[in-house]
């Protein structure tokens, strides 16, 4: 595709802090290269704001290569913007054309309060992982990697679930602000592997309990989460979590 430059109008959510009511501000940016990433376009705008003595727009980012799960912008009515299977940092400006107006909002969910501008607090996800998204391993020498046989199909499915980067796009897209795609990916990843076996039952109940405590909604299987997931996590993970939860909850001794 040939290189081109564009002039754009940005409508960006600005909010000073958690308590501020916030609102949209409109910015014009010019001579944006079609080869820039979406975040580089924001860098250009922020540099201008800094030279003008204004407060730059806060946004989350880290690796900028689509694997860390930090970037989180709701662009023109879609988490991570118009491209499928793409994080905001990997969205490039060739997705837009000269004269476009782009509306950028933070993730919206009560469990993800806005910290500043486009930055939201996703520590709820960390607490869900802390509740059970791990395996307990004794210290000592590292065990040989191939000492426990793993079925190839299961290893592949577990790997596909483990690809979840915990960005929260599923929550942002869900009409109920449900985190079940994230939680189910993490539960599936460990439930499919023999290493996850010993804590299988307590893991799913503990993670769901924490998820409910954090104030996420419940899943109504609309499929919006799967559609926007930058790592294309399958919604079948949710059905697997439901089964894990059913077996765990109904076979419990107490």
């Amino acid at each position: 595709m040939e290189h081109y430059t564009m002039n754009l109008t940005l409508k960006v959510w600005r909010q000073k802090n958690k308590k501020d009511r916030g609102g949209f501000e409109t910015y014009s940016v010019s001579d944006i290269s079609s080869e820039m990433s979406f975040l580089e376009m924001f860098d250009v705008l922020n540099e201008r704001l800094v030279t003008e003595g204004k407060d730059p727009i806060s946004f989350d980012h880290d690796c900028r290569e689509g694997i860390c799960g930090m970037c989180s912008m709701y662009i023109n009515g879609r988490p991570h913007g118009p491209w499928e299977g793409t994080t905001t940092c990997q969205l490039h400006m060739r997705a837009f054309k000269d004269g476009d107006t782009i509306v950028v909002e933070p993730w919206r969910a009560n469990a993800f309060p806005v910290i500043k501008d486009l930055v939201v607090d996703r520590s709820a996800f960390d607490r869900i992982i802390q509740a059970g998204g791990y395996i307990s391993v004794n210290t000592g020498n590292a065990v040989d990697a191939n000492s426990i046989p793993v079925e190839k199909d299961k290893a592949d499915t577990a790997f596909a679930s483990a690809a979840c980067i915990g960005c929260g796009a599923c929550v942002a897209a869900c009409k109920n602000a449900s985190a079940l795609l994230f939680v189910s990916a993490k539960v599936s990843h460990l439930a499919l592997l023999p290493q996850g076996g010993p804590e299988r039952k307590t893991r799913v109940t503990a993670m769901v309990a924490q998820m409910d405590k954090e104030g996420f909604g419940s899943c109504t299987a609309t499929g919006a989460c799967e559609a926007v997931c930058p790592k294309e996590i399958s919604i079948s993970n949710i059905a697997r979590l439901n089964a894990e939860y059913g077996v765990s909850g109904l076979s419990s001794d107490k």
Partner: protein, 228 residues
Amino acid sequence: MKWSEFFTSSVGKKFVMGLTGIFLILFLVVHVGINACMWAMDGGEMFNKAAHFMGATVVIRILEVGLFVGFFIHIIQGLVLTFQNRKKRSIGYQVPMGNAGSKWYSRSMGLLGTIVLIFLIIHWKQFWIPSRFTDMSEATYESGVPVHDLFGLMKDTFSQLWVVILYVVACISLAYHLLHGFQSAWRSLGLSNNRYLHLINAVGVGFSIIVPLAFAMMPISMYFDWVQ
């Protein structure tokens, strides 16, 4: 894990919705089957006898209590979930996602269910209450046992255009409610096997079209006097 913890968790609530949903789907099969007797073209004899059997058999009357419990749980839990879920995002988006990634009816289960509920209340008042509690005209066939003339009541009720329209609207709402609910219920119960999910999806689409269509044809065929 206590029972109460299981059934009050977000996943447990969906489990209950799925279970009661499948139970109500089974009821629809029975209901549409019994009602289809109205098309026997025998002046309603087979239909009235079938309805009499359903009303006079003690096992079915006991099952009816279970049916009401199923309805009650499904309706109350559904409404509670709809309102609770709505509160999880206090500030909405400037640009909504709309139909990108999800079907409108999958996001409108609360609304579609409420339309069906409103219909249900009117439907109970029109048919269930007269047949169980209040007086209605009887019909006697060769066995000599008088049975409720529900066929006559149907003819009478469905001579009014507004009732026919209401029933058709309710059937369309039911169709879309089932289109999402049929397959979603099985996922809520934990069915993740792709082979069975494909089967459930196909059966679900067929069921969601055929059953509501059959129900909708009942008032329509009565209104246009296609059945005698």
